[in-house]
């Protein structure tokens, strides 16, 4: 209860710090860009992340119901799922919130003995983290589905013409995607 009020009061600072921590995962130039360009069309990534975490934060508040939080998580994870991150890095942003809150509210929590509430709140974050994995996996699956669909779209007409199957240029079933990467 008390923590809820406290979080609300410090919302702006927390969101800002959380956002900063997330964009710090990107190279410095990019972090600058993500932070400073406020336009949602010139900087869709920054805008999506900022809007996403604001919504997530609101839903997460101890007093609120977070059952419909998935779309907001999805917006952010969808971006990170196609960037140069490992799966754990891609979803790590959610844990950064814990760190930010502890740093921001350390004193108040100590003074008011809010550890119980904090623990409960962090449990909520942990649960959320689990669903981020699910979403991440869905995004990755979607990518594979899209790849398959593309091949299907391209071959469908030809397959329709029964005996006219021909080789798809550039499509190399003999080479796996990760074959390209040096081990």
């Amino acid at each position: 209860m008390k923590l809820n009020a406290l979080l609300l009061e410090k919302k702006t600072e927390i969101i800002e710090k959380w956002f900063d921590a997330i964009v710090a995962c990107y190279p410095p130039d990019t972090a600058q860009f993500l932070k400073n360009k406020k336009d949602r069309f010139t900087n869709p990534m920054g805008a999506t992340i900022l809007q996403g975490i604001e919504n997530i934060f609101d839903k997460l508040l101890p007093d609120n119901d977070c059952s419909d939080i998935a779309p907001f998580l999805d917006n952010i994870i969808r971006i990170r799922a196609v960037q140069d991150f490992t799966p754990s890095q891609a979803v790590a942003f959610i844990f950064l919130l814990k760190k930010v809150i502890r740093e921001e509210l350390r004193q108040e929590i100590q003074e008011n003995k809010l550890y119980e509430e904090l623990l409960a709140f962090e449990l909520k974050i942990d649960n959320l983290a689990l669903s981020t994995f699910d979403i991440y996996m869905k995004c990755r699956e979607k990518l594979y589905e899209i790849k398959a669909n593309e091949v299907k779209n391209m071959t469908f007409r030809l397959l329709q013409q029964a005996n006219l199957i021909c080789e798809i240029p550039g499509y190399r079933p003999d080479v796996k995607d990760d074959d390209n990467i040096k081990k």
Binding site: P44, N153, R172, D177, N180, I181
Partner: protein, 539 residues
Amino acid sequence: MAKDQTPKADELFSTIDYKAPEKSWMDTPVEFKPGTFCHGSRPKYLELLHMPYPKEWKPGEEDWKLPENWKEIFLDGMAERLKKYRSFKLFMDICVRCGACADKCHFYIGGGDPKNMPVLRAELLRSVYRKYFTTSGKLFGKTAGARELTVDVLRELWYYAYQCTECRRCSVFCPYGIDTAEVTIIARELLNLLGLNTDWIAGPVSNCYMKGNHLGLEPHTFKSSIEFFLSDIEDITGIKIEPTFNRKGAEILFVTPSGDVFADPGTYTAMGYLMLFHELGLDYTWSTYASEGGNFGFFTSNETAKRLHYKIYAEAKRLGVKWILGGECGHMWRLIHQYLNTWHGPADFLEVPKSPITDTAFENARSTKMVHVAEFTADLIRNGKLKLDPGRNDDIKLTWHDSCNTSRGMGILEEPRYVAKSVCNHFYEMPENTIKEYTFCCGSGTGLNAGENMELRMRGGFPRANAVKFVRDVHGVNTLGNICAIDRAALTASMDYWVPGIRVAGLHELVANALVMKGEKERTVNMRNEPLPGKEAKE
């Protein structure tokens, strides 16, 4: 001690290095990340084209099987191109690193890799230029922004040359008109001197060279592919169409990207052409020899592009047509508009294009003698020559994607809009800084529309998708229209990932839906065989 009881979150996962290191770009070696690059070209394609150094190679591997004197080849190639292209020479020299272009590239915006900032992308090659072609670079090396050409640098050049779709968006913002696409084009040429193409580009190029189109459809297959549409059209409209192929003496030769002949949803656009031309009674022919308007050769080298596009004029001459009509395609039109006539002109065996239906002479195409089908159709509608029922598209809430090449390398913006608005009642523009000359790339142009680099394509497609999402949320837009064959395939994928539920349609698919044809049966379904609005109940 009591004070610091709470463990810090980053201690909990200290193994995860989530903070990006601060290093200058020169000290950050390239790392080939999965999902961002294409397979290497297979030797058979290069052999067929007589291109240098065919080999089996994998870009992600250390050994690229480079020829002994690769450095010399590369630098000689650079010297030659500095002499041949003022653009290249100038763009190597005059960048002031003002940063105006830096955040304009869709790959940077959606991916965040600084080397995808156009200024840095060009700097990768510029640093080599300084080292070997400028005095300051020779003398002061790194302080003057110069660096040695090494295998690692070569790999980096390759990696980022194939992460640029040559969309020219950066060029719009540069105060000196520096076009990073030009730099990429040259970089790819240089890499091709060493046999370092991608398979997705080299394959279509060799197909197109030998068989007339990227897909390698042989003449009979090309013909039967189109004939296959005819039965679909007959089912939908009740009208039998009989197009001709390689017919001498036709008035018009029609050339379009072959992608539309076989890949959904481009096929619906191809059906649209067939229906429109039939309805007009146009005296035109398809060609199986010049069965490709697109040109993956342009993503290889200028010479290769020229070799492929030779067929268009040659075939027009052989068939004795009066002028050429070109279908919807992005890079095809940049090339026809800005290159074809220079490569293979003057086309004085052709006449200034004149619409046989409206008698409009296309003065703007008086030298190249090729008209864009959107110009052609816009003229028809303007002169009231088409009977249209836009109500058939009432289930469509349309927004318009301007393709990079036709926007920034030609400027065909209003014609397709005019046509689209004539055949669709619901039309909504995306935000101003994402359309027309500011348009965002689909993310898969210049031969990057392969499967293995899907992550890259999705990153690149994000800024565009983000704007689509906006109009979807605000206006309920459900269809993304365009005049590009690659868009039709690439945006379908990108929408599927970012904004599921948005469908991608070519302009002439929309025209085909709305076109009221003489003697047609009552239409109940659209080109995709889905019930028309108001006809759902009838089944």
